[in-house]
């Protein structure tokens, strides 16, 4: 008999290729381990189970629920596919819920599926918890099966979303938008809420297609090219794009131009502060645009900068006092709603902003840049030989350049990779991947020319040619 497949929990759960390592046997092993760990801490507690639109995700979810309930837990499975934030919101609002399980591989390509664990507040499970689950894994799938309930997770969640925005303002604005769920778990839901609000909606990639039409369900170019073209050809006001489990957001303005998540974080933060009277810190990651810092400075808001990864933002949310947290990938969350990213909520916030101000996203960004000054941002991913990458990683503690691309280095930070702060708020960040022979190079500066110079300098540093 072959050895059981190695199962490890990464930053956001266990992910594997369906029918390769992601099999019913392995899923049951994981659910069995999770069930034992959860029930030992919280005997008889409720575990909510959600799933996205991937191949057989619902069937896997029900299989997981059978195993979880065999440990004396009350397992409740969503009656339909749902976004990750919907599962998390329900867990956080259900006093009996001690954990959540989401069957999703987020933005990964179609062959993948994953098993995410969520804690009682709806937030991601800490490493200490997933370590316990890994340690509890048995080599053979469990034979025991229990009963589970089927529940409506989407109804209450959508109702809460409706209550967070000004439906009348959106209705009065007669917006025409495209919604692109990329065949993922936002399918039908965001478009449905918009239609209830009187918005004219064209939904693309809204059919059931576990192959994602060959796209990666990630709300960035080139996967959003179809919807950008649609906005231009149909003269729409905007488009909103969500990823495979609808926790990330991408947007497109009236001209069909991609609105990057940095600008979405800044726009929504400004909206929450100025228009909705919310207070608290903004949490961003080290790779997020300085636009956010400048905006916060103008508004008198504190900014907390964390390493890359939503788990760091989540930790700040648990500490309290956070108004909004977001990262470069488009994962943006408002903790008063749930301590998790929520692509649907962000789309509704952007639409509310457009409606209340009577402006398109492009104009809102112009207003923002008028306040903050312009900044340009780019990122490149350098694939390097492992030896070159390792050499770069080894050199990080010793790197002390006084000048980069002709600009004097004001400060060097090493909280996540190495970041050089330069005049005029420009910066260069190099972050080695933890798992691949890859170094991500980010740069931001007042002009694209300088950004390109910085990226070239970053490449030279990573490759060790300077």
């Amino acid at each position: 008999m072959p050895d059981p497949a190695p199962i490890t929990f990464g930053t956001d759960g266990w992910r594997a290729v369906i029918a390769d390592d992601f099999t019913y046997a392995n899923l049951r092993r994981v659910a069995d381990a999770a069930g034992r760990v959860i029930s030992s801490a919280s005997p008889g507690g409720t575990v909510l189970v959600g799933y996205d639109t991937r191949f057989q995700a619902g069937s896997f979810a029900r299989a997981a629920a059978e195993v979880l309930s065999s440990h004396g837990l009350v397992a409740k499975v969503s009656d339909s596919y749902c976004p990750t934030p919907a599962l998390c919101w329900n867990v956080s609002r259900d006093d009996a819920a001690v954990a959540g399980v989401m069957l999703t591989a987020s933005h990964n390509p179609a062959p993948y599926l994953g098993f995410k664990l969520r804690m009682a507040d709806g937030g991601a499970s800490p490493v200490a918890f997933t370590d316990k689950v890994e340690a509890a894994l048995l080599p053979d799938p469990p034979a025991a099966r229990g009963e589970y309930e089927v529940v409506d997770l989407m109804g209450p969640y959508l109702e809460s979303l409706r209550g967070l925005v000004d439906a009348e303002a959106i209705r009065a604005a007669s917006l025409k938008v495209a919604v692109d769920p990329l065949h993922g778990a936002g399918r039908g839901y965001l478009a449905g809420v918009f239609r209830e609000f009187g918005v004219e909606v064209i939904e693309v990639h809204g059919e059931d297609n576990p192959g994602f039409s060959g796209l990666h369900p990630e709300p960035i170019p080139p996967h959003i090219d179809d919807v950008c073209a649609l906005v231009r050809s149909r003269g729409l006001d905007a488009a909103f794009v969500t990823d495979g489990d609808a926790d990330r957001i991408g947007a497109v303005d009236r001209s069909g131009t991609f609105v990057n998540p940095h600008r979405i974080i800044a726009l929504v933060a400004r909206h929450l502060f100025e228009d909705k009277g919310q207070r608290g810190t903004i949490v961003k990651t080290v790779s997020t645009s300085v636009l956010v810092d400048r905006l916060a400075n103008r508004l008198g808001i504190e900014v907390v900068t964390t390493p890359v990864g939503f788990k760091w933002i989540y930790e700040e949310m648990v500490k309290g006092g956070v108004m909004i947290g977001g990262e470069e990938s488009g994962g943006i969350g408002i903790p008063s709603h749930v301590r998790e990213r929520d692509g649907l909520l962000m789309a509704l916030m952007l639409a509310e902003m457009m409606a209340q101000k009577g402006k398109g996203l492009g104009e809102l960004i112009d207003d923002l840049l008028e306040l903050t000054g312009p900044m340009e941002y780019r990122r490149v991913d350098l694939k390097l030989d492992s030896a070159v990458k390792d050499s770069f990683v080894d050199s990080i503690p010793r790197l002390e350049p006084t000048e980069i691309a002709g600009l004097p280095v004001k400060e060097t930070q090493r909280s996540d990779g190495i970041k050089f702060l330069l005049p005029d708020d420009a910066w260069l960040l190099l972050r080695p991947s933890g798992t691949e022979p890859l170094v991500r190079v980010y740069a931001e500066a007042p002009s694209l020319g300088v950004v390109d110079d910085l990226l070239a300098a970053g490449r030279a540093i990573a490759e060790g040619t300077v």
Partner: protein
């Protein structure tokens, strides 16, 4: 779910540290608590898996109180629990404070400096005035807190535990102790620990039992034993074990023929509980909180009574049946006190102040 902020800045300390890690880890295991722990940013003791907020300033300074106050305002917990008497500034509500003992105000010599005693008293008074509930580890300490600090009816008694300590890895004995019969005690030479009474008792026990040694767990205090015992030949059989880690301490407890604890004042008395949990027969003074901790699972003697202590130690050394009875009773007694139970009772106090 109740959001609780716990001040664990003193987790590196000995007694308060044991309490900090034991209670906090048990609270972190509960699903009705969202726990956030404030830790010293230079601290080395891992407290629990709960989210940590580092604090830079020293706990006993004004800066430390103000920093903790800022953290409390940010976290906005349902309840703040200070695991020792330094409290946040301004004092948040609701606030629970644990007072472990008042030995500096009760036992002469524990805190010789008058100025420090005045500051100590003021800080404790501030904690008592600010706290909605006070937790003491024993009824005896609760009585002291009511009597000396006018704490009224806000004091609750929640015993501590040793199950986390006793379940850890047992290391090898320090060199030279393997196969040796020894009486174990703690090497704290502060006056209220009353080591002189133990040393005097050992000098009476030793002549008839030349194979038995007295081991004092803790760092060597050069000259201390000679100062107390002078030219008594028993002095040659007494020694400090030196700085020991927890694994070594567990080995010392587990292999001891007797654990003798002559302390004149304890707020709780974790060492005899740890000794019982690891199977050492316990002999301890019948005073302050110790009878509450050991129950009827130890031989007790009147504090400071050399003859009675010598008789009790001799009885355990000479009577294997008595030693076995004490070992079994001690394990049984220790099993009744767990950090999970401490956490359960502590959460009960949180519920009192939050009304949830």
């Amino acid at each position: 779910m109740m959001r609780v902020l716990v001040d664990c800045r003193m987790a590196d300390w000995s007694g308060v540290g044991r309490y900090s890690t034991g209670l906090t880890r048990a609270l972190a295991d509960r699903d009705d608590i969202e726990l956030i722990q404030v830790v010293a940013d230079r601290g080395t003791t891992p407290v629990s898996d709960a989210l940590s907020i580092p604090a830079a300033a020293r706990p006993f300074t004004l800066a430390g109180g103000l920093e903790l106050g800022r953290i409390v305002r940010r976290v906005a917990p349902d309840v703040t629990h200070c695991l020792h008497f330094p409290v946040p500034r301004p004092v948040p509500q609701p606030l629970v404070v644990t007072l472990h003992d008042l030995s500096p105000l009760i036992v002469s010599g524990v805190m010789p400096s008058l100025i420090r005693r005045v500051v100590y008293r003021r800080m404790n008074v501030a904690a008592v005035r600010g706290a909605d509930r006070l937790i003491c580890p024993s009824a005896n300490t609760a009585s002291d807190v009511r009597r000396l600090l006018s704490a009224g009816e806000r004091v609750r008694v929640v015993p501590e535990a040793a199950d986390d300590f006793s379940s850890g890895e047992v290391g090898p004995l320090p060199s030279g102790l393997a196969g040796v019969r020894y009486v174990l005690s703690m090497g704290n030479t502060k006056p209220h620990k009353d080591l002189p009474t133990l040393l005097a008792a050992f000098s009476r026990v030793s002549p008839l039992r030349p194979d038995v040694r007295l081991v004092l767990a803790g760092e060597d205090r050069p000259g201390y034993i000679a100062d107390v015992l002078g030219s008594d030949p028993a002095a040659a059989k007494v020694g400090f074990a030196g700085r020991t880690d927890d694994a070594t301490l567990r080995a010392l407890y587990g292999n001891a023929a007797v654990f003798a604890f002559p302390s004149l004042y304890e707020g709780f008395g974790l060492p005899p509980l740890e000794a019982m949990a690891l199977g050492a027969p316990v002999v301890c003074a019948r005073d302050t909180s110790l009878p509450e901790v050991v129950g009827d699972a130890a031989i007790m003697f009147d504090p400071g009574d050399v003859s009675a202590l010598a008789a009790a130690v001799s009885r355990v050394l000479d009577d294997p049946g008595e030693a076995a009875r004490l070992r079994a009773a001690g394990r049984q007694r220790a099993a009744m006190l767990t950090w999970a139970a401490t956490a359960e009772a502590t959460v009960g106090v949180y519920r009192e102040v939050t009304g949830r």
